[in-house]
Symmetry: C2
Subunit: 311 residues, 2 copies
């Protein structure tokens, strides 16, 4: 394992901002006040009809490339589960639309809320193996295009969006990042797309998350020999208030170290961790050499945790 | 880059075997004799209605696991573009259905005919980075479920099937495998799924392949310092007779080193290379310590070449 840098974080939300208040008016039979107490969400972002996974990915990636020479990119990884076409992969289309090198590795990873952390582990390995030096990592999903209009559980939680960054070797560092992965396909049915619609069994995903994430967290502490009190920031997938409050409670995370933004943008699946990182960096809340734990969990069911040092 | 082993190769074709003769009878207006002169294909395998990507994957993987202790698997990679559901990933479902470990890495890669070689490069990197030790690699696709009944170009070429193997470190070897990747999304439109149907612009894919594969081949020779005459076997994606004859001609590959099986099973996309490897191994045609070049190319458009030593 080598150390790596996460640079030029950017994101692009779906262009339709929808408040819980407006949802209340549209679905008067839904008790959205009670729902909001659980989710903690005030706004949801939906993609418009002509915004798909590729378009959101390109909008975000263009921001990432504003301050990075695109000629130096030799790998594109796109995490997505909701691309418009089954084939070709979105990563190949990104190569063309952004005018990137053709002597380039490009592939899509099919994962959801654990996808960003998974991608970091995979890209770290490609860097370590000298197969690439600068990877454009994009997460992009449009779950709301696959939510039935009467599915309250999904409609009140998921937002559309893309995020992007550059992952490269951090040659100056002697820190060793650490990863831990978990997969339980027996819960595959609990967050699934079937016949064009996404369905979620909220209580089962909650049960999986609150059981699995603490285990992975403790494994990472053991493996990395880092003490809990030395972790500066806890950046978890922004599932909902219910899930994050419970995790904070189980893991006894100090309030000032547990970061959230679900209230403002909802659950953006694979992009939720990088969007939160991007916001915290903008606000100067995360600083060089701080220790950060990232944890993604959800569809699969799948979970991944990693411990990194901010570059 | 470390050396790796490809063990326990197995495969499972779709259960409906269809001869070109029977296609001729079904589509009397198609000049299938002329088509066959180009494709060289005698039989196509289609999945039945209840055979999907997961079911074919499981059938193949069960054969691979007959002689391998499943408790030792700590990574599952599935290459597919035609899974039944957008989410969850097929790899997570494989974890559950085969009763594999839950402390496991599992993800799907969205790539087609270049996918097996890509997956070898990615898994090699995970092995090198000590993120896993034994990976169950599965390729599974059911393109024929997405081919319009009047699409002669696709119907006369693509077969459904899955393949599987175990990829692990080869600690006893001092050989260094070598990889070369290429992506050109400007040809994404030339092999695409749109509104449920796959469409292929044969001449454009042919042009890409016959231009790109020789370049990657020469790059690999240069990088690896292996001489062409020292390569024992050329295992290319089984696109069609037209493509493979042309590549053999450009690269001046001796007939006894250029292997094909497209005539018997058609183009099984991501599985075509592992199925051919499996068959050659069964027939004792590839032997320990022989040098083999693998090359996958197609949808993306995407290509990947690697030079390996057989374990």
């Amino acid at each position: 394992m080598i150390d790596f840098k996460i640079d030029n974080l950017s994101y692009q939300l779906g262009s339709l901002k929808i408040s819980y208040n407006s949802l209340s008016k549209k679905f008067p039979s839904w008790d959205l006040k009670k729902v909001q107490q659980k989710t903690g969400i005030k706004f949801i972002y939906q993609s418009s009809e002509n915004e798909d996974v590729l378009i959101l990915a390109l909008k975000s990636a263009k921001k990432t490339l504003k301050n990075f020479n695109k000629k130096n990119i030799d790998c594109i990884v796109v995490v997505t589960q909701t691309a418009k076409n089954k084939l070709p992969s979105t990563a190949c289309l990104v190569q063309d639309k952004l005018g990137l090198n053709k002597n380039i590795i490009s592939f899509d990873i099919n994962l959801g809320c654990s996808g960003f952390v998974y991608a970091l582990g995979i890209i770290n390995s490609l860097l370590k193996n000298n197969l690439c030096t600068n990877t454009l990592l994009i997460c992009s999903d449009t779950y709301t295009k696959f939510i039935h209009k009467n599915n309250r559980t999904c409609k009140s939680v998921f937002s559309d969006g893309a995020s992007s960054c550059i992952i490269s070797k951090n040659n100056k560092s002697n820190f060793t990042p650490n990863f831990n992965f978990y997969s339980d396909g027996s819960g595959g049915k609990d967050l699934i797309e079937k016949n064009g619609f996404i369905e979620m069994n909220g209580p089962e995903v909650y049960f999986f998350t609150t059981n699995t994430v603490p285990k992975l967290f403790n494994n990472i502490l053991k493996k990395s020999k880092v003490k809990k009190e030395n972790i500066d920031h806890f950046i978890f997938h922004q599932a909902s208030k219910l899930v994050l409050d419970k995790l904070a409670n189980i893991l006894k995370i100090p309030e000032n170290k547990m970061h959230t933004n679900y209230d403002q943008i909802g659950n953006t699946t694979s992009s939720s961790i990088p969007i939160l990182l991007c916001e915290l960096e903008k606000m100067n809340k995360i600083k060089k050499n701080q220790i950060i734990i990232l944890s993604g969990f959800g569809v699969g069911l799948s979970a991944a945790t990693c411990l990194i040092k901010w570059n």
